[in-house]
Symmetry: C2
Subunit: 130 residues, 2 copies
């Protein structure tokens, strides 16, 4: 292992985020890199948190939700209360995502109908032109 500490550039490479994003997350108290003078050094812990942040974002959690969950983990270690809270939040999110999926399905089906209609019209134009 090299140093176990990573600069902001290395982090950006590794996680495909911009420096602005990492500083932003720090300002929102999602990350706590070591401040070596004016520079940042990201620890293993920061990387673990960032992984969870990015995963959470994929699931559609807000940064504020994520922050609260991470903080809970920090306080409780790995106790039941926070696990249950995480679990509940995740179930809510899942429900929301499935609702969204259903709506998207309807919209897609409708749009396909409209497309069929459009093709019909185009065909009609084509035959008129011929």
């Amino acid at each position: 292992m090299t140093t176990d500490l990573m600069t902001i550039r290395e982090m950006c490479e590794a996680y495909d985020v911009t420096p602005r994003t990492l500083r932003f997350y720090e300002s929102k108290e999602l990350l706590f890199p070591i401040r070596e003078g004016t520079r940042r050094l990201f620890t293993k812990r920061d990387r673990a948190r960032l992984t969870l942040i990015l995963r959470g974002k994929r699931f559609g959690f807000s940064l504020e939700d994520i922050r609260q969950l991470l903080d809970m983990y920090d306080r409780d270690g790995s106790q039941e209360t926070q696990l249950r809270r995480t679990y509940d939040l995740a179930r809510e999110r899942l429900a929301a995502m499935e609702t969204q999926r259903a709506e998207l399905d309807v919209a897609i089906a409708d749009l396909k109908d409209q497309l069929a209609w459009g093709e019909e019209m185009l065909a009609r134009f084509a035959s008129n032109a011929a």
Copy 2:
């Protein structure tokens, strides 16, 4: 038929939108109600446009996209160029929606995995407590 013209309130009732929304759409040149002094009177044409606006929104088109399409229809009457443009835009949107649905599916599957994991942990805690 009463008057073929509707007040802002009637429009709100009929389309389940707020007055603010209608004024906003007018400011964005999506609607062109008659200005009777200081008040608005929405014509059949406005209603047709609003229907298309709301439909477009359901499909995820931006208001700007919608405005451009509506303007095209106004200019071209009902010619092939605009029909094709609409058709192409709709196909793009459909592709985007299907991509989005695929990503959502992955996220849902992942989240379900995490949930299963969470249940496992909770069960472990429960048995420890017993």
